[in-house]
């Protein structure tokens, strides 16, 4: 590796890692928004994945891939439990229930000694390098892109536009919604585990309401027409505060404003690309 590049990577180590992690989080948000649902539990799913994998690393000798698997499966179980009662109701219920999940998790993490209480967990081994983070991100992007370009993606788009019409066309709404929520929980859990093993420290307040809304702003800024929109949103909103230092104190103000403006004035986001499906264009 050339020395200059090496220097660069060293200086911006944590920024580069968080770009990848935030990209995964944006994709996890995309999966839910793509079928017209709103989950405010992405941060909680991320927290569950982070804590699960960190505790496994600190207390067991499990191979890292197995820890990552656990970091995906445990949030998936939470998603099943939250989705089962709420997904058959109007979208408001999922949104509110996932907020509730986030708060329960935060209270639990702060109170429980096992999870390090308010101090969180530190000394998590740095097992997640750039290669792993970006490998996961690339694999997830590719998979989602291919799915968006298939009949599954078409059905997802149909649900987002009009779920009643999609249902009478034969799209199995409960199954699509549940699968989307579970997949998004797995992606967020993976992001959490990678983040924990890249930054070596996690705390109970990293996964609250503000984090959930920030993840939402990534996807809304970029647009949910394709996975690339959400990725672009994460990229912009992660880099912006680094480039414009004064913005850092107002990071959340900006995120909030972006959500308002995106929903009101740019429903297609920064990247209004439509998925390239076979036969969709002349």
């Amino acid at each position: 590796m050339p020395a200059a590049l090496d220097d660069f990577l060293w200086t911006y180590q944590s920024l580069i890692a968080s770009l990848g992690v935030n990209g995964l989080l944006a994709l996890s948000m995309y999966v839910v928004l793509a079928i017209g649902q709103l989950s405010l539990g992405q941060a909680a799913f991320m927290g569950v994945g982070a804590y699960a994998s960190a505790l496994l690393s600190l207390h067991t000798g499990l191979p890292f891939p197995l820890e990552l698997a656990a970091a995906m499966l445990i949030p998936a179980a939470f998603a099943l439990a939250i989705g089962a009662p709420t997904l058959r109701l109007s979208g408001v219920y999922l949104a509110l229930a996932t907020i509730g999940l986030g708060e329960l998790l935060r209270i639990f993490l702060i109170q429980s000694d096992f999870t390090g209480g308010a101090l969180g967990l530190s000394g998590i081994p740095a097992k997640a390098g750039f290669t792993l983070i970006y490998g996961c991100l690339a694999a997830a992007t590719l998979a989602l892109m291919l799915i968006t370009r298939s009949r599954i993606g078409r059905a997802m788009e149909a649900i987002r536009e009009d779920e009643t019409a999609a249902a009478v066309s034969g799209v199995d709404l409960p199954r699509y919604k549940m699968t989307a929520l579970v997949v998004s929980a797995m992606l967020a859990g993976l992001a959490g585990a990678l983040n924990a093993h890249a930054s070596s420290f996690i705390g109970p307040n990293d996964y609250g309401f503000d984090a959930a809304v920030t993840i939402l702003s990534y996807a809304l800024l970029g647009g949910v027409g394709s996975p690339f929109g959400s990725l672009a949103g994460a990229l912009v909103l992660t880099l912006l505060p680094e480039i414009l230092r004064p913005l850092q104190d107002f990071r959340l103000v900006v995120n909030g404003a972006i959500i308002v403006v995106a929903v009101l004035y740019m429903p297609h986001g920064l990247i209004p690309w439509r998925p390239l499906r076979i036969g969709a264009r002349p």
Binding site: A143, L146, I147, S150, R151, I152, R154, A155, E157, A158, E161, D162, T164, A165, A166, A167, V168, S169, G170, V171, D172, L173, P174, R277, I278, G279, A280, R281, P282
Partner: protein, 265 residues
């Protein structure tokens, strides 16, 4: 006539608060029939379609399709059993192109497992291409070939109605429910619609048609069922229904009074 009717409804009742939108309603549609369901505004026609397609659940009664109960199934399961419908207030996927709308209608028939999708194997491409080909044919069939790649929301009203029919047909239904397909169409479009319905009948697709355009109904349909305040008040061939005094009264009596109504689909 074959032994068992394609669609059979018994004792169907749906209440909204104190008001019964559908009350103790019976109906059967035989295979290959083109039947009509008429009635004044607010009579409960759309409510009945919503019950049959599974968007609302009945309070009482049963619905059978092809001899099997479907009234506890979800809308998509009913679609799988051969039910398709259009909507009175157009429900297209407005930002998707016309051809993509039809492709969504084909959802149940396009193959391709997740593995095939992720690897984009030949089988997947072949299935998608075949579906696109079939969708093109359907668009040609309803006369929308020139607008294949136009966003559905940008089409004219009449074209949107035809696109909805194409999307419903894409599911290869045994029974097609059409909710006021001629509403908002000009006479030329209505004439084209009539031809289309006749072609469908020739293909032996059973249809139940809700329509306010009486000349269309009288000319096309085999059996007419008349609904008023959620109850069946007459049933029979066009001539008999036309002559029925109860029908005259229902129409003349209620047409005058503007009905405030809420559409549920």
């Amino acid at each position: 006539m074959s032994a068992a009717p394609l669609l059979s409804i018994k004792g169907l009742t749906l209440r909204y608060g104190g008001l019964a939108a559908i009350e103790d309603f019976d109906l059967s549609v035989t295979e290959g029939a083109l039947d009509a369901l008429i009635g004044p505004n607010g009579a409960g026609k759309t409510s009945l379609f919503n019950l049959i397609s599974g968007l609302t659940r009945q309070d009482e009664g049963e619905i059978c399709l092809g001899g099997a109960r479907i009234d506890r199934l979800s809308p998509s399961q009913r679609a799988r059993r051969g039910l398709a419908r259009t909507f009175q207030n157009l429900r297209l996927f407005a930002e998707m192109t016309a051809i993509e709308n039809v492709l969504v209608g084909m959802h149940l028939h396009v193959g391709g497992s997740l593995i095939e999708i992720l690897t984009r194997l030949g089988r997947f491409r072949k299935a998608e291409r075949a579906a696109v080909e079939a969708a093109r044919e359907l668009l040609a069939f309803v006369g929308l070939s020139p607008s294949e790649y136009a966003p559905a929301g940008s089409l004219s009203y009449g074209d949107q109605r035809r696109l909805e029919i194409a999307r419903a047909l894409a599911a290869k239904p045994k029974l097609l429910l059409l909710d006021e397909p001629a509403a908002g169409m000009n006479p030329a479009e209505t004439a084209a619609l009539r031809l289309l319905l006749e072609k469908l009948r020739a293909q032996n697709i059973s249809m139940l048609l809700v329509e306010h355009d009486m000349s269309l109904v009288m000319r096309l349909c085999d059996t007419i069922t008349v609904l008023n305040f959620g109850r069946k008040i007459a049933e029979g061939p066009p001539d008999a229904v036309r002559a029925d005094p109860a029908v005259m009264e229902a129409y003349l009596g209620v047409r005058g009074a503007a009905h405030v109504r809420g559409d549920s689909a």
